[in-house]
């Protein structure tokens, strides 16, 4: 019985999500206020995270997010439910990030974003110390994240897309294949090669940090 419940529940959630999507899309087409709020609430964070991880530039990511939502609002009529709303929006995000990256390489000029440096825009939540974690842990995590972000930026963008969609956006292989418009085999291969490239990039920077065991080492 437990197995059957476990098996059934994801299907039900998928159906629920589909009907939610349908309702949201219909309401967006009718110009309902709550639908616009709901769409932003549901997708602004994941879309921004995805754009930021793909571009590693907050200013560019902001532009991409605005462009993505503009396209979503304008083209909601053309959404035909052949994929989920999430997959559709992520596909637009990946394409926009791709365009932005191409544009960036053509015009090598960065804008200064006032919100880019989080240290200058700390709010009260950051000032109040978190007693559950030691300052060492916090610093350690931050260092680790900075290194991973840097390594992500250095690997091939094609592999980076797949790794980000799988490991950060937590999408399934099928969803990634739908977003990137490639076969499942290609998705699998790109994820594998992306992870290996990432590990190789991290290998150099983590050699001096034995606490992070991201570099394979055999026991003596």
């Amino acid at each position: 019985m437990a197995a059957s419940i476990v098996d059934l529940s994801p299907e039900q959630t998928a159906e629920d999500a589909e009907s939610d999507d349908l309702r949201l899309v219909e309401s967006l087409r009718e110009g309902s206020e709550w639908a616009y709020e709901e769409l932003l609430t549901r997708f602004q964070q994941p879309v921004y995270t995805l754009a930021l991880r793909l571009l590693n530039d907050p200013a560019e990511a902001c532009d991409v997010v605005q462009e993505v939502f503009l396209k979503v609002f304008r083209n909601i009529e053309n959404f035909r439910q052949q994929s989920t709303l999430k997959t559709w929006i992520y596909r637009i995000t990946v394409n926009e990030a791709h365009n932005a990256r191409r544009w960036f390489f053509r015009h090598r000029h960065r804008e200064v974003d006032p919100d880019a440096n989080p240290k200058e825009t700390r709010d009260w939540e950051e000032i109040i110390p978190d007693k559950s974690r030691s300052p060492f842990d916090v610093t350690f995590d931050r260092e680790q994240h900075v290194m991973i972000e840097a390594a992500l930026e250095r690997i091939n963008p094609v592999f980076r897309e797949s790794v980000v969609l799988r490991d950060i956006a937590d999408l399934s292989y099928e969803e990634i294949a739908g977003i990137l418009g490639v076969s499942l085999g290609t998705v699998k291969s790109r994820i594998l090669r992306g992870r290996e490239a990432l590990r190789e990039e991290l290998a150099g920077s983590l050699n001096s940090r034995p606490a992070l065991r991201l570099v394979p080492k055999t026991a003596e």
Partner: protein, 223 residues
């Protein structure tokens, strides 16, 4: 399973994209091969680190921009929706008015049509009128001979033949005795009191000649 193959399997195993049998053999290999085991561990840690990456905070400028964008786009859509909705509502109202107008007439109209059909079906037989086609000229006959309709009783000789010329009104215009003898008074009576149907061409009466033969026992007419 070889270490080369393991290389590919490690990533799939992390994503649970392997079959139960493959998983079993991979795990067995990881137990036995330290190099592969370490690779698997490092890959798992990398994946965990990626998942633990901080969720970037949305810049206030972006949040504000998105709100403005949503508001503008909603207003833009409402203006479009408003136009189409107004047209739709107007069409619906017109349809309702038309239906309301037609509904009281529907039953009388249907009844009227039905009763008209019934009456027509009943009247059709009585509408038929008698046709008289007796004087019709058959289309296949281009020319008809004059015909004798009424003859003055003639007491001629044994055998007498008279060629009579008939005008378009059926009157005798000329009379020539071609065989035998005929007294002039009888000839005059024949011209005066006999009636002929005129010859016709395409149904129109015209002049024609008829040969009348008298015998003692009978009168025969040959065209």
């Amino acid at each position: 399973m070889s270490c080369d193959k393991m290389h590919e399997m490690v990533s799939s195993l992390l994503d649970r994209r392997v079959t139960a049998r493959e998983e079993e053999s991979v795990l067995a290999h990881l137990e036995s091969c330290r190099q592969c085991g370490a690779e698997f561990e490092s890959m798992r840690e990398l994946r965990g680190a990626l998942r633990r990456l901080d969720r970037p905070e949305l810049p206030a400028r972006l949040l504000e921009g998105l709100r403005t964008l949503a508001l503008n786009e909603r207003l833009r859509r409402l203006s479009h929706v408003g136009l189409s909705a107004r047209a739709h509502r107007w069409a619906g109202r017109m349809q309702l008015v038309f239906e309301n107008l037609m509904r009281p007439m529907a039953l009388p109209f249907a009844g009227g049509v039905l009763s008209a059909l019934v009456m027509f079906a009943m009247l059709v037989p009585s509408l038929a009128f008698p046709h008289n086609f007796r004087n019709d000229v058959p289309l296949w006959r281009l020319y008809t001979d004059p015909a004798l309709e009424e003859m003055y009783p003639v007491d001629a000789g044994d055998e007498t033949m008279v060629e009579v010329t008939i005008d378009e009104r059926g009157r005798v215009q000329g009379c020539v005795v071609t065989k035998g003898q005929m007294p002039p008074e009888i000839e005059n009576n024949l011209v005066l009191f006999s009636r002929f149907a005129p010859a016709t061409v395409f149904g129109r009466p015209t002049w024609g000649k008829v040969l009348v033969s008298f015998r003692r026992s009978q009168i025969s007419v040959r065209g």
